[in-house]
């Protein structure tokens, strides 16, 4: 059970949060212009790496805000927590 430092509320237990998958996948502005393959890339393709992964999380049982975290999937260490729209502070 992680401890997640919500950028709006502070450190809380994982059970208050909901994971929302890989971060920094922007919804295409003009979906109709995309080929099936391009749309499928946005819709289905997600990374599953060993190492630092950027993820969306939602403080579902708290402030309801979405934010991003950088988590090392090999040991679950959270390297950084940052707000939506911000660039990841770590590589």
């Amino acid at each position: 059970m992680f401890l997640i430092n919500c950028p709006f509320c502070g450190e809380r237990e994982q059970s208050e949060f909901k994971a929302g998958g890989e971060a920094h996948i922007e919804r295409p502005k003009q979906p109709t212009e995309l080929s099936d393959d391009e749309w499928a890339e946005f819709l289905f393709m997600r990374k599953n790496i060993k190492g630092v992964q950027f993820e969306r999380w939602n403080h579902a049982h708290g402030c309801r805000k979405w934010f991003n975290i950088a988590r090392d999937t090999s040991n679950d260490q959270i390297k950084a927590v940052y707000k939506m729209g911000e660039k990841p502070p770590v590589k």
Partner: protein, 1003 residues
């Protein structure tokens, strides 16, 4: 018992407090402080159970939580009965009743013992290999295999005890209160850190508590006396909380640990009433110190499992801690100095040590000199090759080991004994460390895995870190804790240690025998009856990974999780495969370390606290009026209202007819309601619904369908424009929370530029839906000052109104196809307005109806229920709802997916109506739909999603999804059932009033 196996000089026992207990229907006596195991041993009872596969007689083998054999059934035939309780851990109390498991008719005469004789034909993987042929016979075999498998019996009634959960936050958690844990606790607490010390035993001090020999001294005091003072000192420390009888079950990431505190299991039954039995501690520690100790290894030789064979350290513990001798003529068998400590304890008490068999050629330490001084025979360089005695060991034979330790040579010598203590050295208890993600390294010189890489802020000290002598333990513990806790004052001056132990060891994983391997039974996992032979067979058959060997042979898969034998399994694998230890990995230790009761896991969340229950403001009225309820998510919804002797079908038929013939009333308060405000609210709805919203006039309502980005239907409901920038959206009852979450997600992450605010108002309003040809007259009576004329208040529009002084919103919308009005009013007025409607409707036969009737009425109209007629694979096109998908809108959630190569396929499953050939026949929801029943395998075209008998149409109607169904109108299909085939015709899903005349029907 005639034998005198009890010494009256134990610190732990209260000899003035005699306790009687029952084991296998016989009454025995013990003292307060005894475990069931120590009390049985004092009564000369070694045979306590039968092994899992071969039903071999098994005895108590250890004195701790690692026990593989002595697992018993506690409290026979009561609601408290508990299987697989370790006799070595349960403290006896007045009234204890226990019995052996896995034996029938009794532990002394067990019919399953025939498996022992059959064992040559029961190798590893026997069940996998044998019972696969012929294929369809498995069902027959399974019955018998399941019947003979399994250990204890689970209780048949609800657990009457109380359990609870508790959160604990601390600076330092110390697991294990042995000598290193006690030192750590003192250092942490004295330096101002909030410290929690837990131990699974009832006392502090671990094995040093009974280390009474002249050969281990600290500061010139006998080790146990030195430690006693330390324990007394820490009991008074302010920053230190101590919890005994508390076993850490799981060590998760971020230093989150679960522990079970056992509060009443040691008390006499009559003192347990209304007390909490177990408490699950959820511990968040800034730093964790594991001082979990080590477990002695057995030795692997032929017939090493007979009752009377114990770990040598267990024999010592029974003598020194419980004052119990495990026999009167004991032999010790060892590959290291540990057994000599046991021998010294025994001679101090005058118990006969017949001999010591030592694998080592060279034995020289202060301990061994002391033993030789007492004229105890030591067979150096020897090994045990066999043991004798069925229900209790009565002798053994030994032979000399060859130089390389691979063979036995010379003459066989027979020795008699009534108990055998074995010692294969020590294995650090790294279970919790590895659970937390820690990595191990292998130490060649004494063949142990020790902690290497810490995944979080934690430290292992003492023998779980591979320090086995008091000298190493004290010196390393103090130094490493000083560094780990970053403290200046250790509170310990240099300790002067005197120890008699020499660390030399001759490690042979599988001891050689004069028999061929196939003829031996050298047990590696006692509980699951996995032998060295089985492991070698698995390797011959091509298994390499330790995880595969484990599953194939079941080594380490019992309730003890192989705490004794896992190391030997690894050793035998690496020796046989010619690889280095650890190369094939170690098996993963999974939580819990020792089994937890279900009660501990669920705590207080049982019965009515199992889940949240949501009730509508009108709930009490439904109860009084005999409603049956249905669970919809967490909601209790009125399902139907049976009158007198009506069954569900009769009630629903009556309600459904009334709603169309005169008037019906439904509590729709559970529908999700989301208040949407902001200057971009219209644009927002345009993006989240498939249809267009910008032109919806104020005061109008519109049905909307919401998709996922993959084009599949996600939710539906009616949204009303209350004002220029103000809407109220309704969602399905079950989907409310998820829809709000999804909308927030898009607002916060994709479209933060939109000026839109969402709030859930589901609980704020009660929703009363009045439908039927008389509905208008009824609502006009309830709200007399509102103009309900069709011109002023047409279908799909909304009005603000007042009932007396109370504001309400009235929507004219319909889920039944009838003229229908929904009154939304502040929740606390819900019930009184409902009652007003009932009163107003009296002369019009107003009939309350529940969810079942609602489902029937909407099915007559072919309206879908998201989640019943759809799963996450239906697009609006599949549902024949093309009309609601805007062609003009540039984009909305899921639009692009509606013309992916997959979603435009014509043979997708599509929603159709189904009419049975026999109009009285009602289909089963979920039934498969096919065309050709002769083809094998039969091709499944789809399934029935909704099915009812319609009292308004006087026939059976159904909805279903069928591959390419849209083009099948009028086609005949077959629903194959268990005992018949039902013929159906594909129909339009709208069965009633296709023109929608009833929405404005006048009576």
């Amino acid at each position: 018992m005639s034998k005198n196996l009890r010494f009256k000089s134990s610190k732990l026992l209260d000899e003035t407090y005699r306790i009687s207990f029952k084991f296998n229907n016989k009454i025995y006596y013990g003292y307060k402080g005894d475990t069931l195991a120590s009390a049985l041993l004092a009564n000369d009872v070694h045979l306590v159970g039968r092994s899992f596969k071969y039903h071999r007689p098994r005895g108590i083998m250890t004195a701790g939580s690692e026990e593989p054999n002595a697992i018993i059934q506690l409290h026979d035939n009561t609601s408290r009965t508990e299987p697989n309780v370790r006799a070595t851990e349960i403290e006896i109390y007045e009234g204890l009743v226990a019995s052996s498991q896995n034996c029938w008719p009794s532990v002394n005469f067990d019919i399953g013992g025939i498996n022992n004789i059959l064992s040559p034909v029961l190798p590893a993987g026997f069940y996998y290999k044998t019972f696969m042929w012929p294929k369809n016979f498995w069902e027959k075999y399974e019955y018998f295999i399941r019947k003979s498998a399994g250990l204890g019996k689970s209780p048949k009634e609800a657990d009457p005890d109380i359990y609870e959960h508790k959160y604990i936050h601390c600076d330092v958690l110390i697991i294990g209160a042995g000598i290193s844990g006690v030192i750590a606790a003192k250092m942490a607490a004295k330096n101002g850190l909030k410290t929690l010390l837990v131990d699974e035993k009832s006392f502090l001090g671990g094995s040093t508590t009974y280390d009474n020999s002249e050969f281990s001294k600290i500061n010139n005091q006998i080790a146990s006396s030195w430690l006693e003072k330390e324990v007394n000192e820490i009991s008074k420390l302010e920053n230190l909380e101590i919890k005994t009888r508390t076993s850490v079950a799981a060590f998760h990431g971020y230093n989150f640990l679960l522990a079970r505190e056992n509060l009443t299991d040691h008390l006499p039954i009559n003192q347990r009433k209304n007390k909490i039995r177990h408490r699950l501690l959820k511990i968040r520690a800034k730093k964790v110190i594991s001082a979990t100790g080590a477990i002695e290894r057995p030795l692997i030789f032929d017939n090493n499992d007979r009752p009377g064979i114990l770990l040598s350290s267990a024999i010592k513990k029974y003598i020194d801690l419980y004052g119990v001798a495990c026999g009167e003529n004991i032999i010790l068998f060892t590959n290291n100095d540990t057994a000599y400590e046991t021998a010294i304890s025994m001679t101090q008490r005058g118990i006969k040590v017949n001999a010591i068999i030592d694998n080592r050629e060279q034995v020289d330490s202060k301990l061994s000199y002391e033993v030789e001084k007492n004229n105890i025979r030591i067979f150096k360089g020897y090994t045990v090759v066999d043991t004798y005695g069925y229900k209790r060991i009565n002798g053994l034979s030994i032979m000399k080991l060859s130089k390389d330790g691979q063979k036995v040579i010379g003459e066989k010598i027979k020795l008699s004994c009534d108990s055998l203590g074995v010692s294969g050295g020590w294995t650090p208890s790294v279970h919790l460390f590895t659970q937390s993600g820690g990595k191990l390294k292998f130490r060649e010189e004494d063949q142990v895995f020790i902690p290497s890489k810490y995944p979080s802020d934690q430290l292992c000290i003492g023998s779980c870190n591979g320090d086995f002598t008091i000298e190493e333990i004290t010196a390393n513990t103090i130094l490493s804790i000083k560094k780990f806790l970053n403290i200046k004052n250790t509170n310990y001056k240099t300790l002067e240690i005197m120890t008699g132990i020499n660390k030399s060891k001759r490690n042979i994983w599988l001891l050689p025998s004069d028999k061929i391997l196939g003829k031996t039974k050298s047990f590696v996992d006692y509980q699951n009856d996995a032998t060295a032979k089985d492991i070698k067979l698995a390797l011959r058959e091509g298994f390499r990974s330790i995880e595969h060997v484990k599953r194939y042979t079941t080594t380490g898969m019992g309730t003890d999780q192989g705490k004794l034998g896992n190391m030997h399994a690894l050793g035998i694998i690496s020796e046989t495969a010619g690889t280095k230890m650890g190369e094939h990995g170690t098996t993963t230790f999974r939580p819990p370390y020792t089994p937890l009761t279900f009660g501990t896991i669920v705590g207080r969340n049982v019965g009515k606290f199992f889940d949240i229950i949501r009730r509508t403001p009108i709930h009490d009225w439904h109860v009084i009026n005999n409603a049956k309820f249905e669970n919809v998510g967490q909601w209790k919804r009125a399902w139907y209202y049976p009158k007198e002797n009506e069954n569900m079908h009769q009630a629903v038929q009556r309600e459904s007819k009334a709603a169309r013939d005169c008037a019906g009333i439904l509590d729709a308060s559970t529908l999700g309601k989301i208040d949407i405000q902001g200057t971009d609210a219209s644009e927002f709805l345009n993006r989240v619904y498939t249809n267009a919203w910008s032109k919806l006039a104020i005061g109008k309502c519109r049905y909307g369908l919401m998709l996922n980005e993959d084009g599949m239907v996600y939710d539906d409901g009616v949204t009303t424009r209350l004002d220029e920038n103000h809407y109220i959206m309704t969602t399905t009852t079950g989907g409310a929370a998820n829809v709000l979450g999804k909308l927030e997600d898009y607002l916060q992450t994709e479209w933060p530029e939109l000026d839109v605010y969402l709030s859930s108002v589901t609980d704020h309003y009660a929703t009363i839906s009045v439908c039927g040809p008389h509905s208008k007259k009824i609502v006009s009576k309830v709200i007399p000052n509102l103009d309900f004329s069709d011109e002023k208040f047409p279908h799909m529009s909304f009005k603000n109104a007042k009932i007396g002084e109370i504001k309400c919103r009235v929507m004219r919308i319909s889920f039944t196809g009838e003229q229908s009005y929904e009154i939304n009013i502040q929740s606390n007025y819900g019930k009184s307005v409902w009652e007003k409607c009932m009163e107003a409707g009296k002369n019009f036969d107003i009939t309350p109806y529940g969810t079942e009737t609602m489902h029937l009425l909407r099915a007559e109209k072919g309206f879908i229920i998201v989640g019943q007629d759809t799963d996450a694979t239906m697009t609006p096109i599949d549902l024949q709802m093309d009309w609601i998908v805007s062609k003009k809108k540039y984009d909305f959630i899921g639009k692009r997916s509606l013309y992916r190569s997959d979603t435009i396929k014509e043979d997708r499953k599509q929603l159709v109506g189904l009419l049975t050939e026999n109009p009285e026949e009602v289909l089963e929801e979920g039934a498969q739909i096919v065309t050709d029943i002769k083809k094998s395998p039969i091709e499944m075209l789809g399934h029935v999603t909704s099915s009812y008998y319609s009292p308004n149409l006087n026939k059976s109607i159904a909805l279903g999804v069928v591959k390419g169904g849209k083009k099948m109108l009028g086609q005949k299909l077959i629903i194959p059932m268990e005992n018949k085939n039902i013929n159906v015709t594909v129909a339009d899903p709208v069965f009633l009033d296709k023109e929608g005349k009833r929405l404005n029907a006048k009576l």
